[in-house]
């Protein structure tokens, strides 16, 4: 193939001279015209450059209005009179969408003596054109994608709504293991507040409210973090996914321990931070640790709850308590 033949051929191939104006017009301009008058006919031409915001109105080729409209302005209306012997009142109204800037969809209505002469659409260039050109299969895919997106957004909105928690349950506090089998006291636990979910991995759940622990019918239990109103509690530790599916974990208090509840509020557990000899928070949740469990009425039931929820905190290999 000779280079020259190719070059000479393509030297001659050029766009139509009117293409530039046509492209600019079809992409960025809403243009229409109409005639007014029975005997004295007048031609009204309207042009709105959607990219620049230029509005031009001509009557019989004579420009009567030329303005640049504010970028934020959503609607506008122009009124004027045409004709000398035969006068007509013309009104042109334009409404456009806010987004996307520069490529806005817009609609114009033209009236002559309050009679609608026409409605003119300036379509959004990109998406509707593509949508219009789509095959049936493409449209189904497009609509499906929009529906999936809508469902996802709806899910996220609902997922982030706070969930009310208002529970009063009866349970026991006990020491696991065999060292203090008599360490057992019935308790009443109240949980009031809201918990919030988000899609982050860390600090995925947040609880705002109060967790109170009372000796049954005898007021707060001494030497615990009972009755403390916790303003804002975040998850204190990164949690494994399967645990998150089962248990909502909240730090009950920095001193008291860690509070856990099942998402359906069917079981509660508090792992108590015991203090070491220096009075610092130390040992917690071991096989001989102190646990609150609810709802239950006996040590055996409490052990069952703890054994059900402990693996969700420490993993499946966590030894069971007795």
């Amino acid at each position: 193939m000779g280079d020259d033949r190719y070059r000479k051929l393509f030297d001659k191939i050029e766009p139509d001279p009117s293409a530039r104006e046509r492209i600019w017009d079809t992409t960025f301009t809403l243009r229409f015209d109409f005639e007014v008058g029975d005997e004295e006919k007048r031609k009204v031409e309207f042009s709105f450059d959607r990219f620049l915001g230029h509005i031009t109105i001509r009557v019989d080729g004579q420009r009567i209005i030329k303005k640049i409209i504010n970028n934020l302005r959503k609607s506008l209306s122009y009124e004027f009179t045409v004709g000398e012997k035969e006068k007509h009142h013309v009104r042109i109204a334009l409404v456009r969408s806010y987004l996307p800037v520069g490529y806005r969809e817009c609609t114009a209505w033209a009236y002559a003596d309050d009679k609608l002469m026409g409605q003119y659409e300036g379509e959004l260039y990109l998406k509707p054109k593509r949508y219009r050109d789509m095959t049936r299969k493409g449209r189904i895919a497009f609509i499906s994608a929009v529906l999936v997106l809508f469902a996802l957004i709806t899910f996220l909105v609902i997922y982030h709504l706070p969930i009310d928690v208002d529970e009063e349950v009866y349970g026991v506090v006990f020491r696991a293991g065999t060292t203090e089998p008599d360490y057992l006291q019935p308790v009443r636990i109240t949980v009031e507040g809201k918990y919030y979910r988000n899609i982050r991995i860390r600090q995925r759940y947040r609880f705002e409210g109060s967790v109170r622990v009372y000796a049954r019918d005898e007021g707060p239990i001494p030497n615990t973090e009972t009755g403390e109103t916790v303003k804002r509690i975040n998850i204190g530790v990164p949690l494994v996914e399967d645990m998150l599916d089962m248990v909502r974990s909240f730090t009950y208090s920095t001193d008291g321990g860690v509070f856990f509840m099942k998402p359906d509020s069917s079981a509660f557990m508090i792992i108590v931070f015991e203090r070491d000899i220096n009075g610092e928070p130390g040992h917690a949740g071991g096989s001989d640790g102190i646990y609150y469990a609810a709802p239950c009425n006996s040590r055996e039931e409490a052990v069952d709850i703890v054994n059900e929820m402990r693996p969700l905190v420490w993993g499946k290999k966590a030894p069971l308590v007795e």
Partner: protein
């Protein structure tokens, strides 16, 4: 881009790149209407959200790549493949030889068209074409070789048929 600058920008860019885009698009599409669609699409992209260009050459290469992508998208959308009907109203084509050559170019497989056009019309070197089309140098060489061979073979066939 300022409001009043957009029209100027369009005009300047169109004068500068309009022909180039149209010619490249023509190798793929062979129809005036489709080529104007490509012109429109490329200029919308160029004016709407262009990347930061280092220099004019960078801008030109970006436009060439976008043009190729737009053409391929349009071909896929229209499912025209390689059997494009030639626009009968091309004033440029004056002789049967030119029409034959244009037919042959249009019948080339799509992936050979851009390397051939960029090399033989725009005058880009193999390495530069590789950069524009984001393919390897060896792939460009291979496509140029295949394109040349196909055009040569086809030209010979056409000439033989004419006799």
């Amino acid at each position: 881009m300022g409001r009043l600058q957009a029209d100027d920008a369009f005009t300047i860019k169109y004068d500068k790149y309009g022909n180039m885009i149209y010619k490249l698009a023509f190798t793929y599409l062979g129809k005036q209407e489709d080529c104007e669609d490509i012109l429109q699409e490329v200029f919308v992209r160029l004016l709407r959200k262009p990347p930061r260009f280092r220099d004019e050459e960078h801008e030109k290469r970006w436009i060439l790549r976008i043009t190729v992508n737009c053409c391929i998208d349009l071909i896929r959308k229209n499912k025209k493949g390689n059997s494009l009907p030639l626009d009968e109203n091309i004033p440029a084509v004056e002789t049967p030889e030119e029409q034959d050559l244009l037919n042959l170019v249009l019948k080339l497989p799509d992936k050979l068209k851009a390397p051939i056009h960029l090399h033989y019309y725009e005058g880009y070197r193999v390495k530069e074409i590789a950069g524009i089309l984001e393919i390897s140098v060896s792939a460009v060489k291979m496509r140029l070789k295949r394109g040349r061979e196909m055009l040569k073979i086809r030209i010979e066939e056409e000439e033989y048929g004419r006799r």
